[in-house]
């Protein structure tokens, strides 16, 4: 049984799937894509993933797309150790959390990620025509890039809103750990919502936004410490997968500014 993962080291959605693979103890073959060369927008890749995003899991030749769907698929075909609750109600609560994770923090994390690193890295020195040509090739999220713009970045209102969304996510994690008694978001069982929120929180911490939670959300801070001490964390975040390691020039600049 062959499992191949088309992914990128620093993509948060790829990190969600890598954590899940490690938690399940599954061997997989890495097919790494490079966004700088547009590997995710080639006709061959769009054949596998018509949305032109990473990751894509290929299992015995069958492509499975959408990171939340991939982790749920992995839980169905490799049931042990279980990363979803055993009862229908528990699964519904997990899925409601996953929808929130997809709607709120996942897009919110893109705003500082692009403002602080990816926009200056990839588009600052492009021409307007090159930028528009790249955006035009994207099956999803054209509006996101156009709101950002090649040179301006997202404005203050949009950045404030994104940070408020991350704060809200951190508050909900804190409350959930407190209400359920922890140690994980749904209680005693570590589940797919712990898996999928981890890369989003790690990205924000890596970009220097831990201040959004570290002073007053003590249950959330303790949850994140527990997450980082699981063996899956260091394996999924292998060297070079944090943006601060991959693109240190943006972090040195910020520190000296």
């Amino acid at each position: 049984m062959a499992l191949e993962l088309y992914h990128s080291g620093h993509s948060t959605c790829s990190q969600k799937v890598r954590i899940c693979l490690v938690e399940k103890g599954i061997d997989w073959v890495s097919r790494e894509l490079h966004f700088a060369t547009g590997d995710h927008l080639t006709p061959e890749y769009l054949e596998l993933n018509p949305n032109g995003v990473v990751p894509t899991l290929v299992h015995d030749g069958e492509p499975v797309i959408e990171s939340s769907v991939i982790v749920e698929y992995l839980d169905e075909i490799f049931p042990e150790p279980p990363l979803v609750p055993r009862d229908a109600l528990g699964r519904a609560r997990l899925r409601a959390w996953m929808r929130y994770m997809e709607e709120v923090p996942t897009p919110a994390v893109r705003v500082p990620s692009f403002n602080d690193v990816f926009r200056p890295l990839r588009y600052e020195n492009a021409t307007d025509e090159e930028f528009e040509a790249r955006v035009e090739k994207m099956p999803l999220r054209k509006a996101f890039y156009r709101r950002m713009g090649r040179t301006g970045g997202f404005g203050e209102a949009e950045v404030d809103n994104a940070l408020a969304q991350i704060r809200q996510t951190a508050e909900r994690i804190d409350k959930a750990v407190s209400d359920t008694g922890g140690p994980w978001i749904l209680g005693a069982q570590y589940t797919l919502i712990d898996v999928t929120l981890t890369p989003l929180i790690q990205r924000m911490a890596d970009l220097g936004y831990a201040r959004l939670w570290q002073d007053d959300l003590l249950e959330m801070v303790a949850w994140f410490d527990r997450i980082k001490s699981r063996p899956s964390f260091d394996i999924a975040f292998y060297p070079g997968t944090n943006v601060s390691e991959k693109y240190p020039q943006f972090f040195e600049k910020e520190a000296s500014a």
Binding site: P50, N51, H59, E62, V64, I65, E66, S68, V69, I70, E72, Y73, E76, I77, A88, L89, R91, A92, R93, R95, A96, M98, R99, Y100, E102, E103, V104, P139, L140, K142, A143, R146, A157, E158, N161, A164, Q168, R172
Partner: protein
């Protein structure tokens, strides 16, 4: 088993749960399941008592024997688990993964896109035309989710770029439905089996049609058009879209077709 739903007749996310209930043999409101009407015009979804049930401040909220469930797509998956027949999900993991990938696409693309003409063409002029900037900002601030949607919109509704992009996203959705039916032979999006994806996307397409955007598919996407005809022949459609459930019926005084609005504002 007692099923209750806090919902609104014209809410597309409520409609998708109503379709699914009907498909599962629970078609009749206030007989097979109990309705708690949430008046979105009065912002009842943002009242403290409702936020205790649903911290996101949106409809629907589903209650099964006293247990509260939120997020319409998660509610559909739950109904599939507690009422397995007739099955609305494929029996194999690969089939379920394909269905769920479609569901994520629908949540990310057309669900969000449909809100743009809904608010621009009807709800923004109806609810906020007379609001001051401060009142509008205060309203946006009450929303647990989607503040930014309101901030981008303003009292007057969305502008040309946002509306044109929403049309592009709906067109892409219709093209994907058309292609899926050609590829799998139909009659439904995943092939011979009617699934949650058909239930989930139906209210979005019906809303666009109701707002007068049928031109996005009816001229050149015949498989998509035939799919919508088949959808409307299912008994679940009539059950979910009872009289007054379409936004044009709910707010007739504010109803304007896309064609009229395009003639007036140019987009």
């Amino acid at each position: 088993m007692t099923f209750e739903m806090y919902q609104a007749p014209q809410s597309t996310c409520s409609q998708k749960v109503r379709i699914t209930l009907a498909e599962k043999g629970l078609p009749e409101m206030n007989k097979d399941w109990i309705e708690h009407d949430v008046d979105l015009g009065k912002f009842e979804q943002l009242e403290p008592d409702y936020l205790k049930l649903n911290p996101n401040g949106v409809v629907p909220t589903f209650v099964h024997d006293g247990t509260v469930l939120i997020e319409s797509s998660a509610i559909l998956e739950y109904l599939e688990e507690v009422i397995p027949e007739p099955a609305l999900a494929p029996p194999d993991p690969v089939g379920r993964a394909r269905m769920r990938a479609w569901m994520r696409y629908i949540d990310e693309v057309p669900t969000v896109a449909v809100r743009v003409p809904t608010f621009a063409n009807m709800l923004a002029p109806m609810r906020f035309a007379k609001s001051s900037d401060g009142e509008f900002a205060a309203h946006a601030d009450r929303l647990p989710l989607r503040k930014q949607f309101y901030q981008r919109m303003s009292q007057k509704g969305f502008g040309k770029a946002e509306l044109e992009y929403a049309e592009f996203q709906i067109r892409q959705t219709c093209e994907r439905i058309d292609a899926a039916i050609r590829e799998h032979g139909g009659p439904w999006i995943m092939g011979p089996q009617y699934t949650m994806v058909d239930a989930q996307v139906t209210p979005l397409i019906d809303r666009m049609d109701d707002l007068g955007y049928g031109f996005l598919w009816e001229d050149d996407l015949p498989e998509m058009t035939a799919w919508l005809d088949r959808i409307r022949e299912r008994p679940s459609f009539a059950a979910a879209f009872y009289p007054g459930a379409r936004i044009s019926e709910r707010y007739p005084d504010f109803y304007r077709t896309a064609t009229d609005l395009k003639a007036e504002r140019g987009y």
